[in-house]
């Protein structure tokens, strides 16, 4: 027989918000200095990080210097030669060679090998966290095919494992781990925000019947979001939802796991990266969804589209993005757009590294843009040749390197200015924040906008 106390407890449990994230609370043991014990631990962590790509990338650099002007850091800050990609990677390579290079066993000085010392580790910390966004532009310009992105991620993972990781970046990962999204947005707060955005959307002319369904089983698309959107950029969600409704697309948002970001891609901790992907996988299963739909987020897109299936050993559903879906709908005539609403603006588009170079999405954004505006000018370096804006690789979560990050954005600022555009389009929230800072710092009179916001304004209902 159930007691009244048990009934009361059961009612309380049913009403309480669900505990999302990992069952146990975690705070990373952050360190401010490398100690001999940490260096010894790093020696143990090195071998498992050496998969075939990383090992080849460490062993095959011929120091030709072809990467020297492929990097936004070395191009924008030419006085600091340490920012040349080969030099940065060599901080890791020297250590690797001291362990694995045959010649280094006898004559380490001959091949530039160095044992892992505090000095070398400090330099690795400075250059591999604060001097590289893992954008892979150097990889695309390397005659040997050295994958700098994978190489830097491997060494970041080793440093992070021993606690030497930028605090803010790790706190972002820990927030995701502890709360299920990287801004620790509570479930009820999130649902309320979505409901408020839905009301705002319905207040727009012609949108009275538009909805943002939450936890709708059997919808075709599960829309995932960057936590910056419910926190700071609700208009992005509103614009995306307007497009999806206008196109008659069946979609939903999960009230549980909806964060598409995965900052474990930046700190190099694979089990966390896999765990965050696993939560979205579970939502796809729970809600019986056909397509996992990435919102406008660079690394988030790559994490879902290209890395999630590898982390999880394959997935039974399809994965795409809002950008690709918009292009498809526009090509199929699924929505009507009035290009004249943007006739007073000149647009350019910044290709996020994780969307273009590492993601293969280069033409879809241009399909969307050309269908929506009349005045579009590409930057000098575009598509897979685009320079990183400087905000990738978790750089925005490392305030200790902010000065260098802004300096490294100079080449992007110069290219934006050269287009004469007053709107910079992009599909990534890290890029958004970095581009805004670049425009402000380099005094470029341009607004930063994502694709959904641009399309939303032009939709004819």
């Amino acid at each position: 027989m159930t007691t009244s106390q048990e009934k009361a407890n059961a009612t309380e449990e049913a009403a309480a918000p669900e505990k999302l994230g990992a069952p146990e609370h975690r705070e990373w043991d952050l360190k401010t200095e490398f100690t001999p014990e940490m260096l010894a631990e790093m020696e143990k962590l090195l071998p498992p990080k050496l998969n075939r790509i990383v090992a080849t990338s460490l062993a095959s650099c011929i120091h030709c210097g072809m990467c020297s002007d492929a990097c936004h850091y070395s191009v924008s800050i030419p006085d600091d030669k340490r920012l040349v990609p080969a030099y940065k990677a060599d901080r890791f390579r020297k250590w690797y060679k001291s362990r694995y290079d045959w010649m280094a066993k006898v004559f380490p000085w001959f091949v530039g090998a160095k044992p892992l010392t505090k000095e070398l580790a400090d330099e690795m910390y400075d250059l591999c966290w604060g001097g590289c966004t893992m954008c892979r532009r150097c990889t695309f310009n390397c005659p040997m095919g050295v994958d700098y992105g994978m190489l830097i991620r491997a060494v970041r993972g080793i440093m992070c494992q021993v606690g030497r990781v930028p605090a803010n970046l790790q706190e972002t990962v820990d927030a995701h781990y502890n709360y299920g999204n990287n801004m620790a947005v509570e479930q009820d707060e999130f649902v309320e925000t979505i409901e408020w955005i839905e009301e705002e959307l319905q207040d727009e002319d012609g949108c009275e019947k538009f909805t943002i369904p939450v936890d709708k089983k059997g919808a075709k698309f599960l829309l995932t979001l960057n936590p910056r959107e419910p926190k700071y950029y609700p208009l992005t969600i509103q614009a995306t939802a307007k497009f999806l409704n206008a196109a008659g697309i069946s979609f939903t948002i999960s009230s549980r796991y909806w964060d598409l970001t995965n900052y474990a891609m930046f700190n190099g901790i694979d089990p966390d990266a896999k765990l965050f992907a696993q939560w979205l996988f579970e939502e796809m299963e729970r809600l019986e969804i056909e397509y996992l739909l990435a919102g406008e987020c660079g690394h988030g897109y790559r994490g879902l589209r290209w890395e999630m299936p590898n982390w999880l050993g394959g997935v039974p559903y399809k994965i795409t993005s809002v950008m690709e879906l918009m292009a498809k709908v526009i090509e199929d005539g699924g929505i009507k757009l009035n290009k004249s609403v943007w006739d007073d603006k000149v647009f350019t588009y910044h290709d996020s590294c994780n969307i273009a170079r590492s993601g293969g999405v280069t033409e879809e954004p241009r399909t969307v843009i050309n269908a929506t505006v009349n005045n579009f000018v590409d930057m000098e370096h575009n598509r897979e040749d685009s320079f990183c804006c400087g905000g990738g690789g978790g750089a925005l979560a490392m305030p200790e390197f902010a000065k260098r990050r802004i300096a490294a954005g100079k080449i992007k600022g110069d290219e934006i200015r050269a287009t004469g555009a007053n709107v910079v389009l992009q599909s990534c929230h890290n890029c958004t924040d970095q581009l805004k800072e670049i425009c402000e710092h380099y005094k470029i009179d341009a607004k930063v906008m994502n694709l959904a916001e641009m399309v939303s304004e032009a939709i004819v209902l």
Binding site: N51, I53, G112, R357
Partner: protein, 228 residues
């Protein structure tokens, strides 16, 4: 031509070829060590073609326009081509001189000499570049300098050896020095950056597979992700 080769030079040539077993063994170990590491998985639904990407990536050495770094440095790329043609001609000749001497006609020898002489100039310029260009200097190791200096010396000696070979003179001090260097090379190269050519196909193929599969390379083969 064999009749003109002294027993000493013949022994030196033989030694160089026996040394190939050493080189092959070390390379086999290198490749084994690499292949036993886990390869890059690809479980995602592809947007492009991994095989075509790998071929494209391997072929990019012949397509300088596909990479910005070579597009912007066509002179540097031309130097690379000349240098590596000289490498191919010279290495091939280490086999043709003892085993198929009839191939080494005056014309073939002269062409080889021309490329070797150009390669000497390229080698010298590359040494200077490593010294005077700050961003190259700070990434250069002793191995980098020694490798290019050794090859430059090798080509310089080869120029003399093949100059006389073109006149039918095989057993010259130049040829002795040439084959002595060949033997040294074979023992030394597996420990040197010169062995980059063994790793080259691995790096290029993996790069091509990853980015070919994602539809970044060979963009004409892209499929839309929602309708594969």
């Amino acid at each position: 031509m064999e009749n003109n080769v002294s027993a000493g030079l013949h022994a030196l040539m033989t030694a160089s070829h026996v040394a190939l077993v050493w080189m092959a063994t070390l390379y086999a170990i290198k490749i084994y060590q690499l292949m036993k590491k886990p390869g890059p998985p690809e479980k995602a639904e592809l947007k492009g073609d991994r095989f075509a990407g790998a071929i494209y990536s391997l072929a990019n050495v012949l397509m300088p326009w596909t990479m910005e770094s070579t597009r912007k440095r066509l002179y540097f790329y031309a130097e690379f081509v000349v240098f590596h043609i000289a490498v191919i001609l010279t290495i091939t000749s280490t086999f043709t001189i003892p085993f198929a001497p009839w191939i080494m006609t005056p014309l073939v020898c002269t062409v080889t000499v021309v490329f070797q002489a150009l390669a000497v100039l390229v080698g010298l310029r590359r040494i200077v570049r490593r010294i005077v260009t700050p961003e190259i200097r700070i990434i250069s190791t002793v191995d980098d300098f020694f490798a290019v200096a050794l090859l430059t010396t090798f080509f310089a000696v080869g120029t003399g050896a093949f100059f006389y070979l073109a006149q039918g003179k095989v057993d010259t001090p130049w040829m002795w020095a040439f084959f002595a260097l060949v033997t040294f090379f074979i023992f030394y190269v597996p420990f040197s950056k010169i062995s980059h050519y063994v790793l080259y196909p691995f790096g290029r193929v993996m790069y091509g597979q990853v980015f070919g599969g994602r539809g970044v390379l060979n963009q004409s083969k892209q499929n839309a992700t929602w309708n594969p």
